[in-house]
Symmetry: C2
Subunit: 199 residues, 2 copies
């Protein structure tokens, strides 16, 4: 059973995400957040001990929903290059659909590095675990194997998506981003070989 306080906390977290997405973390004051949520200022401090407590929840709960390793659902009948390309294209589409949200995630991640380094570390190690599993699955389904440790390839993939996100947010150049995604898929695929063969 959800208590009223928990509903309020959830509403405030959602409002905070909207404010950060629209105007940035520096504009996400408690006043701006309660205005977005349609509450009074005192209600904020009834639901949360402090603004820091809400930011903690933003980092752990909202960043955790981020899917850094996007691989397509249907894996059949594709090469590893096609699979990586489809996955990265899916992420790019997601970014283009809701750029403000991805910008907010990047901003929260950067804030976390400074303010809550242990939360940031835990979050990225979670990303790496998910990406590792996805890349292993992708290799398995395409009869290939990775010639570098899979966590390394996963970390490379995550670095790539972070970097592609930032650069696209800077210039919003769709054509260039698609070209980069295609090149990245090709380059990453070269880190695999047909299973059973030597490197």
């Amino acid at each position: 059973m959800r208590t009223s306080v928990e509903n309020r906390r959830a509403a405030l977290v959602e409002a905070a995400v909207r404010v950060v997405s629209a105007r940035g973390l520096s504009a996400a004051s408690t006043r701006a957040i309660v205005a977005e949520a349609g509450m009074s200022l005192a209600s904020f401090h009834y639901a949360f001990e402090s603004r820091d407590e809400l930011l903690d929840l933003l980092i752990t709960e909202v960043l955790a929903k981020e899917e850094k390793a996007v691989l397509p659902d249907r894996l059949e009948g594709r090469t590893i290059t096609e699979l990586l390309h489809a996955g990265l294209t899916g992420y790019l589409d997601h970014l283009r659909t809701d750029p403000a949200h991805e910008q907010a995630m990047l901003e929260l991640a950067q804030f976390a590095v400074r303010a809550r380094p242990e939360l940031a570390r835990e979050q990225y190690s979670q990303y790496t675990r998910i990406a590792t599993a996805a890349l292993e699955l992708a290799a398995h389904h395409t009869g290939t194997r990775w010639t570098v440790p899979v966590p390394t390839a996963a970390r490379l993939l995550i670095s790539l998506t972070d970097g592609i996100t930032l650069t696209w947010l800077v210039d919003r150049d769709d054509d260039l981003a698609e070209s980069v995604v295609a090149a990245a898929a090709t380059a990453l695929a070269e880190l695999t070989v047909a299973d059973g063969r030597p490197d």
Copy 2:
């Protein structure tokens, strides 16, 4: 001839970089900056119209000094893979030598995306031009050519360095970062072929 005002502006910019590096952009208030520079608050507004004007200068002047495409000086007797690996390793060494500075640059870039998008765009297009020239030079010196448009490869390289920076700042895992750099160099090199040959 440097006027006293220009000296003051330069001193304030340098102080601002130190504050952002040490405590983040959100802590870089005018008061914190003048304290770091050893001036009074009024001197700030004698040199700058407003805090925004200093931030503009931070973005254009300080971000412009960033070298995103680091390639080693001596190019002889290396393969393209070795060249890329040496370049990326050089960047990683630079990051590890002064992580606070790179974190400040990333923070400023992200701020610029929101507050001064046209400055951010100009800055990244400059990065791309430099990286493009470097990658063309690298291919030329190793008797190879790029199988993707060079600006695409350059953008991929910039995305990679941005992503590698963020992920290393998160967990400071040197071994993993070196492993990623090696894998990235290998993967990128696969986007080249010996000159004169078909793809």
